[in-house]
Amino acid sequence: MTSETDNGGARRPIAITAVVDCVGALATGTVHGNLYFYDTNKAGGSQGFGTEQLRTRVRSGDQVLWSVLALECEAYTAIDGIDIDHELCEPERRVYPGTDVAYWIGTVKKDIPGDTYYQVRFRLGSRDEPIVTTLSPSLVG
């Protein structure tokens, strides 16, 4: 089963959520051990839920939407950028209409033979420099 709907029309975007322990990451200077990735395509074959190496099953034409969730709702947490092969996907930052709440979205341009790893840069708290994932999640064909 994939993310395609029964009517064969529009597909539900695959949402990837990064849950960040902002306080833990700021205390240690790394998101390693303080980051949990999930997506909505478990039924399609995604693996590694709750780890930093989520493997999201995608196919050509899928829309992938990245967002972040802070473990402490008072803490500022945002995605600063997603470094991925642009031949495969070019995520761009958008905001929900009428708000300054951002998400990142991109379309998978082609089917992938194996894992395509990517890195996510996070803005946390009042820290000037973004923190980059040390272990890489991937999109999997």
């Binding site: 009517n7 909505t40 473990l71 709702c73």
Partner: protein
């Protein structure tokens, strides 16, 4: 005041509705990882509760738990409160503007196509029932990017956030915790949240269950409705006995190890405790802040 402990309940609503179960479709977190909570980010979280005691063995205070239910693959909880209703109003206003423009158009070549565009702008309003009115009133179906959805059969819509409707089980039956739902000005929980005080005087591991209400979008004739689906999941508290410690030093309670005197000369100029407001004292010291201030001056 007791420490506030937060438990996040992250639900994969689409898969949970598909499986009609929260098993493997709920992920739990808390902010007690460094205090020994196990199973962060899984469905098997055991929340560490440190019973706080004074060094003479008497109980210092209860602990307070808060639960925050979030949805995986929905609008984030950080959008403004009532965002779905706000988007519905905006889409109505836009449709009226487009309708007004259409009627004013003298030479509409394809009014059917124009009306179809307006229909898309209107979207699909969700009919609420007695069970779903309130937080879902006045809403339309919107997608994961906040846009209005016209064709709900495409399945691109965002689910409403999950709602905890009850917390019960061993930890409640044995009076380890006393959960209740409270009204709240907190914008990310839609004005309501579940909280509990925990009797931390009885160490042990206690399970509890959460009844969580999800909503499935159903089409009845021309009407779309959010149909409530009630599911349950389990978690546990592990109460341990720990002496109350200073959170900054990790050692016993007492004064913080702060230098009562600014180290720089510039800072010293601003350290002028009045006679009615003695300055901080070193542990064991009987001197007042004024006297100590004088010593600082003499040492220079």
């Amino acid at each position: 005041m007791a420490q506030q402990l937060a438990i996040i309940v992250l639900v994969d609503i689409g898969n949970a509705l598909e499986a009609n179960s929260l098993r493997d479709n709920v992920y739990l977190f808390d902010n007690m990882k460094l205090h020994g909570s196990d199973g962060q980010g899984t469905g098997d979280l055991v929340t560490a509760i440190h019973g706080a005691y004074w060094r003479d063995g008497s109980q210092a205070t209860e602990q307070v738990l808060n639960w925050l239910p979030y949805s995986l693959g929905s609008l984030p909880p950080t959008v403004p409160r009532g965002y779905e209703s706000e988007r519905a109003l905006q889409s109505d206003a836009r449709a009226l503007e487009e309708l007004d423009a259409l009627t004013a158009k003298p030479d509409a070549t394809d009014p059917a196509a124009d009306l179809n565009e307006i229909r898309k702008a209107v979207g699909t309003r969700v009919k609420t029932t007695r069970r779903t009115k309130g937080r879902l009133s006045g809403q339309k179906v919107i997608d994961l990017t906040g846009e209005i959805v016209t064709d709900t059969s495409a399945g691109t819509y965002s689910y409403p956030a999950p709602v905890i409707t009850d917390i019960y089980g061993q930890a409640v039956d044995e009076k380890i915790m006393y959960p209740a739902e409270y009204g709240s000005p907190d914008l990310v929980t839609d004005g309501w949240y579940w909280s509990a005080t925990v009797d931390s005087s009885r160490p042990g591991t206690y399970s509890y269950s959460m009844r969580i209400q999800l909503h499935r979008l159903v089409q009845r004739g021309s009407e779309a409705l959010w149909e409530p689906v009630n599911l349950t999941c389990e978690s546990a508290l592990r109460v341990t006995s720990e002496p109350k410690v200073n959170g900054f030093t990790g050692s016993g309670m007492g004064l913080l190890p702060l230098d009562p005197y600014p180290s720089s000369a510039q800072g010293a100029e601003y350290f002028q405790p009045g006679p009615q407001q003695p300055g901080p004292q070193q542990p064991g010291s009987q001197q007042s802040g004024v006297q100590q201030s004088g010593l600082v001056e003499e040492e220079r």
